[in-house]
Amino acid sequence: MKPIRVLIAKPGLDGHDRGALIIAQALRDHGMEVIYTGLRQSPVQIARAAVQEDVDVVGLSSLSGAHKSLFPKVVEALAAEQASDIPVIGGGVIPAEDIPFLEKKGVTKIFTSGSPTDAIAVYIKQMMNLETRVEPKRIAHIGIAVESLEGALPFYQNTLGLTLEAVEEVESEKVRVAFFSVGDSRIELLEPISDDSPIHHFISKKGQGIHHIALEVDDIRQRLQQYKEEGVNLLHEGPKQGAHQSEIAFIHPKAAHGVLYELCQPKQED
C-alpha cells in the first residue's frame, strides 16, 4: 500500500513549533510520509505546497490565536487550487468554543492541547481507509445462543415456519449449530456442547438470545489490517477458518457499542 502523505504547516507568524515537530515525527513513526513547511507560511503557500507534494491531508498548527482567520483561509486556498478533496485538520491553542466555527468553515477536525499523537495518527488512517472501504455485502447470518437445539427447533420450524437446512457440530467452538435460511440470509442457532464453550459462558452471563451478527465482506484481510492500524479492538488479529472454508474474524463488542460482529468472507470460487 502507498504510504499516506501529510503536510504539516505553520500558518501565520507563530513560532511555536514544538507541537508541529512532534506530530510530524509521530506520524512518520506511524509509517506516513510527512512534509513540514517550516514557520511563517501564508495560506496560499500552504495550499500550493499541498498540491505540489500531492499530500493526502494537511495538518495546521497555530498557538497564536490566529486560527480563526488563518485556518479557513487555507481551506479556501485549497479550493482555489482545485484541491478541496484534501482534508484539513488542525491543532494548537484553540478554545473549544472556536471548534464549531472552524468545522463550519471546512476544517475536518481540531485536536486540542493534550491530544495523544497516536489518536491523531489513527484519525488520519481512518480518514484514508474510509476512501477505500467497501460496504459489507449482506448480513450473512444472525447467531443466536440457545440452551438446547431440540428445545428451540419447534419455535423456528413451526411457529416461524423456517426450513431447517442442516445441523453441524463445530468442534473448535464446542457448539452444535442449526441453520435456517431467510431470504439472502440465515439464522444460526448455537448450542454449547461443553461447559468451556464460549456459548456456554454467554448464556450463563446473559441468558439465551442474540449472540452475534455476521457480515459478509469481500476484503477481510485488508479490512483487518486497517482496523489494526485504526486501533479497532479485535478478538484476534488475522482471519480464522470458518464453516465451508470461509474466513472469519470477530470485532470486540466494546468497539461496536455492545454488539459482537463477525466478519466473514466465503471461499473464493475459482
Partner: protein, 552 residues
C-alpha cells in the same frame, strides 16, 4: 568510636533495612531520575559533599561564585520584582491592564508585543493578517508607544520588553516616550530581550541572518553603555529553549553558550568586557521538578561567574553576577482542568524563589487556552504575593543551601552543563551550533521522548493522562476583539498621513547608509522613530540591507 564511623554504622544499617523493606514494598520505579536524566538516590548523606570546599563551591551571598545568591541580603531587604508579562490588543487596552497590575501591587512592567511587531511588520502588512494584537500589543509607530505608557512615569517603573529582532526599534521608541515625559535616557531602567540566538533555536521571531543580527545587538550594547547605563541590554533566555522541550541542563547549557557568543561578539566589536557585562541579564524557566529547578538556578550562577572571571578575565564583580528573571513553565500547563494550573504555578514559583531569582512572572491558569483574563492574571500575581508575605520562605537566604541532595544536584547540573559547553565550543561556538541546527535537534529529540513518556503513562500529568474528567468545563476566556486589526490599520494610516514625509525618508536613508557601513545604527533608529517612521518601515530598510533568515 569517632563520629563519622557512627554515621557509617548508621548508614550500613539503613542500607540493609532498606534492602529488606524493598523486598516487601518495591520501589515505585526501577530508576528515579530528574528531567535531565540525573539519577536520584534514595538518600543523600554528608558523604556526597565530603570533598566539597564550602568557600570555593558555595561561598556567601553576594560573593563569588554566587551559588547562594547575588546580593548580600537577598529577599530580606526586598522581595524579588513581581513582573507579570502582559499585553494584548491595542495600546489603549494594554495600558489599562498595566495600570491595573501596578494598582494591584505589581512592581515592574513587562510588555508582550504581538507577532507582527516582533517580526518587524506593520499591522497593514499582508504578512500580519490574523495576527494583529493576538499574542501581545500591536505597536506600529511611536504614537502607539505613547498610548501604551500614558500616565505611567518611566522614571518610576522598570520595563521589560520581550522584543528581539526589532529590539533597537522598540528601545528607541521607549527612549522617545521617556523624552516626551521629560525623563532622560540615563534614568530609564528596564530590559530588552534582544537575544536573537534563541529565536533561531526555539522561538522563531527572527528576521535577519545571524551575522547582521549579532551586529545589531552589539550596536545596542555600545549605545546603551553611553546613553542608558541603567538599562539591561539583553536578556539571554533559556525560557523558550525549555518551552521548546529541552531538559533543565540543556536550558542552562544552551543559554550560557549563547551568552558567551554575545560576549565574544561584543569583544570583537571593540568593547571591553567590564563595560558591557554588568548589563547582561538572563531569563530562565521554572518547571515542576522542584529540587532540580532550584539546583539549576544555583548551578547556572556558579558556572557563569566562573566563565566571566576565569575565561573572560572580567575584573568588575558586577560582570560575574548572573542576574535573572524567571517565568513559570507555560508548557507544563494543561488545557484540561485549568484551575489545577494554579498549583503547578505555585510550585514552580517557589522553586524560582529557592533558586534566588531577581524577578518573577507567574503564569495564569488559563494560558493553555488563551491569553489570561483579568481575574486569572490577578490570581497569578496573588500567588507570588502569598509566597512572599505568608510562607516565610523569603526570610532567610538560600534556605536549600547545604541540603545534601540539592548541593549534589547543583554539582551534577554544573558537570553536565560543562560537558555541553565543551561540545559546543568544539563545534566552533553557539552561532555555529545554531547554524548547524545542533541545539534544535537536541531539543526536539528531548521533546519527542517526553511526549512518548506521557502517552505511555510513564509520566503522569494530572488531569491529562490520569484523573481526567468526562466533561471539561469551559472557562470564560479573554477574546481579542476581531475588529481590532482594522482599527489598528486605520490608526497607522492616520499616523502616516500626518507626519513629515520628507523627514521620515531622510531618517530612513541615513539608517540605510549606517547599516551599510560599520556605523552604529542606534542613533539613526532613534531619529527615525521620533519622526514617526513605523516598525515595518525601519525593519524593511534593514531587510534590504541585511537580507532575511530562512530556517533549514
Amino acid at each position: 568510636m569517632g563520629k563519622s564511623s557512627e554515621t557509617q554504622q548508621g548508614k550500613h544499617k539503613w542500607e540493609s533495612d532498606m534492602e529488606k523493606a524493598v523486598q516487601r514494598f518495591p520501589e515505585r520505579k526501577k530508576q528515579f531520575h530528574t528531567s535531565s536524566e540525573i539519577d536520584i538516590n534514595a538518600l543523600y548523606t554528608p558523604e556526597e559533599l565530603k570533598t566539597q570546599a564550602y568557600e570555593e563551591k558555595l561561598g556567601y551571598p553576594g560573593q563569588y561564585p554566587y551559588t547562594r545568591g547575588i546580593q548580600p541580603t537577598m529577599y530580606r531587604s526586598r522581595y524579588w520584582t513581581m513582573r507579570q508579562y502582559a499585553g494584548f490588543g491595542s495600546a489603549d487596552e494594554t495600558n489599562k491592564r498595566f495600570r491595573y497590575l501596578l494598582d494591584q501591587g505589581q512592581t515592574g512592567l513587562s510588555v508582550a508585543f504581538d507577532l507582527p511587531t516582533q517580526i518587524g511588520y506593520d499591522s497593514d502588512d499582508p504578512m500580519a493578517e490574523g495576527e494583529v494584537g493576538k499574542v501581545g500589543v500591536a505597536i506600529d509607530s511611536l504614537k502607539d508607544m505613547e498610548v501604551l505608557f500614558d500616565q505611567i512615569p518611566l522614571n518610576e517603573v522598570s520595563t521589560s520588553m520581550t522584543i528581539n529582532a526589532p529590539a533597537s526599534i522598540l528601545l528607541a521608541m521607549y527612549i522617545a516616550v521617556g523624552e516626551k515625559q521629560r525623563v532622560k535616557p540615563e534614568e530609564l531602567t528596564g530590559t530588552i530581550q534582544n537575544d536573537i540566538l534563541k529565536e533561531y533555536i526555539a522561538r522563531g521571531t527572527y528576521i535577519y541572518p545571524p551575522k547582521p543580527s549579532m551586529r545589531l545587538i552589539t550596536d545596542i550594547f555600545a549605545y546603551c553603555q553611553e546613553n542608558l547605563p541603567k538599562f539591561n541590554t539583553i536578556s539571554i533566555s533559556g525560557y523558550h529553549i525549555r518551552e521548546a522541550g529541552s531538559t533543565a541542563v540543556q536550558e542552562v547549557a544552551f543559554t550560557i553558550a549563547n551568552g558567551m557568543a554575545y560576549v565574544d561578539a561584543a569583544i570583537e566589536a571593540g568593547l571591553k568586557v567590564d563595560q558591557f557585562a554588568p548589563r547582561l541579564a538572563f531569563f530562565f524557566n521554572a518547571h515542576n521538578q522542584f529540587f532540580e529547578e532550584a539546583a539549576k538556578f544555583r548551578a547556572a550562577r556558579r558556572i557563569w561567574a566562573k566563565i566571566m572571571k576565569e575565561h573572560y578575565k572580567a575584573e568588575n564583580p558586577k560582570s560575574w553576577k548572573m542576574r535573572f528573571h524567571t517565568q513559570t513553565g507555560g508548557s507544563t500547563l494543561t488545557a484540561q482542568q485549568p484551575d489545577n494550573n494554579i498549583v503547578r504555578v505555585t510550585l514552580q514559583a517557589l522553586a524560582a524563589i529557592m533558586g534566588g531569582t531577581q524577578s518573577l512572572h507567574t503564569n495564569s491558569r488559563d494560558e493553555a487556552l488563551a491569553l489570561p483574563t483579568e481575574e486569572s492574571a490577578r490570581i497569578a500575581l496573588r500567588t507570588q504575593q502569598i509566597i512572599a508575605q505568608e510562607s516565610g520562605v523569603a526570610d532567610t537566604i538560600d534556605p536549600l543551601g547545604g541540603s545534601y541532595y540539592v548541593e549534589s544536584l547543583t554539582n551534577q547540573v554544573e558537570e553536565q552543563v560543562n560537558e555541553y559547553l565543551k561540545r559546543i565550543k568544539d563545534m566552533g561556538g553557539a552561532v555555529q551550533a545554531v547554524e548547524e541546527g545542533y541545539m534544535q535537534r537536541e531539543i526536539h529529540q528531548t521533546a519527542y521522548d517526553a511526549q512518548k513518556r506521557i502517552e505511555s503513562k510513564e509520566e503522569i500529568i494530572v488531569g491529562l493522562n490520569e484523573y481526567q474528567l468526562d466533561e471539561e468545563i469551559n472557562p470564560d476566556l479573554l477574546r481579542v476583539d476581531e475588529q481590532l486589526e482594522a482599527n489598528q490599520i486605520q490608526r497607522t494610516k492616520q499616523v502616516r498621513s500626518t507626519r513629515e514625509e520628507v523627514k521620515v525618508n531622510q531618517c530612513l536613508e541615513a539608517l540605510r547608509n549606517a547599516a551599510d557601513t560599520n556605523e552604529n545604527v542606534m542613533p539613526h533608529i532613534v531619529s527615525a522613530v521620533k519622526a514617526y517612521a513605523t516598525v515595518g518601515e525601519i525593519a524593511n530598510v534593514l531587510r534590504d540591507e541585511f537580507g532575511e533568515y530562512t530556517a533549514m
